[in-house]
């Protein structure tokens, strides 16, 4: 019953904020010339908070560097950070505020594909460029010609992951476990399934769970009985950590690889599930150990500033800010949304921490993925 009361309260808040956003009450002054106002819609609370935090850090680092280097005539970035609370409704609310009240030139985010599916439509309609930094589900950039992302999609990462793990472990039969009520985990499942079928790996069983589930013992018990060579999981990191811990506890030992999608690619997975995370494989869009000098500097500066090593999400956020500045320079204006969109489509072979970066014709990311596995409590990049 508390649930429905909470919902009412939340709805009221959304309506109030919408009214505020649409009438422009509380709108701040336009940015000064040479200053680009960029909105960040990140999940600082809720299920995806583990990602949102490092995304914010990555963005802050990039902004500090850019503003320090800007000098008198360079472009300075004025960030507006908002929390989308890992929820589509709140994402909509935040987008409205950023677009109509704060009048940002572009938006970076939102953290979850689920939120992007809804919120990006508002930006598309208003003609505000969006660069997604962690949206990997299918169809996000199909929303319209103002929607970009620097995150590799599951389609680009997962087939590679399956191929590399198969080569390494010789797996022939696997069990699939996925969240069936979330755009990201569901689309991860679709891609995993197709990649497994393409590699002629047998799927023994498909089990699902829902957002917020804590108990996975029923599904894992069914899976254990079938003795799969590997467990393939499409989940966000909080549920993922629970699945990995409970699987090991139920007797699916660390000799059985667990293969995860993008959601597993966070140091929190190792922190949350400890030794259970050994032999977990993930496909990743960013290679921490890359010797690219840009990347080496990024890892060093990030660690110095925040006291912990960056993850993929920090790297993608960091790269997005640099991509935005590259486009802003060519757009010739810091508040022309249309010119900025056109400039973004022409990002080609830009040197970033993600490697040489371009946008594809469909405004998706074009850079090289890697496959990692957890070994000795750390993500190690697998070379083929």
């Amino acid at each position: 019953m508390g649930m429905s009361v909470g919902n009412v309260a939340r709805k009221t808040a959304v309506v109030a904020a919408l009214a505020l956003g649409l009438t422009g009450i509380g709108s701040k002054a336009q940015a000064a010339p040479g200053e680009a106002k960029i909105g960040f819609a990140l999940s600082m609370t809720g299920a995806a908070a583990a990602y949102g935090e490092t995304q914010k850090n990555g963005a802050l680092l990039a902004i500090d560097e850019i503003n320090a280097r800007a000098g008198k005539n360079g472009i300075r970035i004025v960030p507006v950070f908002e929390d989308d609370a890992s929820q589509p409704q709140q994402g909509v609310n935040v987008f409205n505020r950023l677009i109509f009240a704060d009048k940002v030139v572009m938006i970076i985010g939102p953290t979850l594909s689920n939120t992007a599916q809804v919120a990006d439509r508002i930006a598309q309609k208003a003609g505000v460029p969006v660069v997604g930094i962690s949206n990997t589900a299918r169809g996000i950039t199909d929303i319209g010609d103002y929607i970009f992302r620097d995150s590799l999609t599951e389609m680009q990462v997962i087939p590679d992951t399956i191929r590399v793990v198969e080569k390494k472990t010789g797996m022939k039969k696997v069990a699939l476990l996925y969240g069936n009520d979330d755009a990201f985990t569901k689309s991860g499942y679709d891609v995993f399934k197709k990649a497994l079928e393409d590699s002629h790996i047998k799927i023994l069983t498909e089990q699902s769970f829902s957002k917020g589930d804590r108990d996975f013992s029923a599904q894992l018990t069914e899976i254990r009985a079938l003795k799969p060579d590997a467990l393939v999981v499409s989940a966000l990191v909080e549920e993922g950590s629970g699945i990995v811990s409970q699987a090991r506890r139920l007797g699916i030992g660390t000799n059985v690889p667990i293969i995860g999608g993008n959601g597993f690619n966070s140091p929190s997975l190792i922190k949350n599930s400890g030794k259970a995370s050994e032999n977990v494989f993930v496909g990743a869009a960013w290679n921490e150990s890359s010797s690219n000098p840009l990347n080496v500097d990024f890892v060093k500066a990030y660690t110095a500033k925040f006291g912990s090593a960056p993850d993929q999400f920090a790297a993608q956020a960091y790269a997005a800010v640099h991509i935005a500045v590259d486009a802003l320079k060519r757009a010739g204006s810091t508040d022309n949304r249309k010119a900025l969109r056109d400039a973004l489509t022409r990002v080609q072979g830009l040197d970033t921490v993600l490697g040489k970066f371009s946008f594809t014709k469909g405004r998706d990311a074009d850079c090289t993925p890697v496959v990692e596995m957890v070994m000795g409590g750390k993500f190690m990049v697998l070379s083929e």
Partner: protein, 296 residues
Amino acid sequence: MSVFIQQLINGFFIGSVYGLFAIGYTLVFGVLDILNLAHAAIFTLGGLSALWLTRTTGLPVWASFCLATLFSGLLGLVLYRVAFAPLRRRADSNLSGLISSIAMAIIFEAGAFEIFGARTVRFPQGMFAVRVYHFDSLTFTSLQLEIVAIALGLMVVLSLCLKHSRTGKAMRAVAESETTARLLGIPVERIISETFFVSSALGGAAGILFGLYFNALGPDMGRSIELKGLAVIILGGMGSIPGAILGGIAFGMSEVLTVALTGMSSLRDAVAFSVLLLILILKPSGLLGRGRIRQA
């Protein structure tokens, strides 16, 4: 077959936590005829405060368990003083108490949100040794055994106290008739406060066990169990302690078996609540309910 037995074991573990949680509901309902909807918030705060104690003071888990249980009981006293006691003289005190308990739930939840943030928090890895036992193809852990032992132990102690101790007898007298109890010289106010203390301590304990078992705590963890607790006491029979235990275990098993048979957890609540409706049609007083006779 062994898969089926393993599933029953899984359901039994989670069901015993449901049962412990539901006892708190049923105890207050039995004595006061009031539904305390802040019970789930106490469950959450119990779990979170145990985590906080272990992390910041470095106390061993059992010590934080005891302290956090005590703390939950004290929260129950606050809850009674603020949300229920001032309304006791009103004619519509049952309904207004229900509403004010929702208000307290929101306040408690917001407090937890402010203190702990919205992120999922966990007990540090390796805080306590968890041994895994294998019997044939059945697996369970020392943690699961401890959880069931504590849950069932608390339930037994409570039942015995209600039956034999002075306070327990007084609680039952108040449940039977407040006026008669008062005429007999029973300090009704104090007995009600004690009922809230015990009920909330058990709710907090359930929260701690739930947190230890899944090791994923957050301000919203009470949401997942709130309605289940209500369903459990209706299933078991309102106001019946053995009914709450039986209902909890039955509910846990129906959940686990639904997932096991369909492979989908989205049907979990649907099936569990359908079973509830079915039982209400066949036996409206619940599994162990005895019509109007209250027995808490």
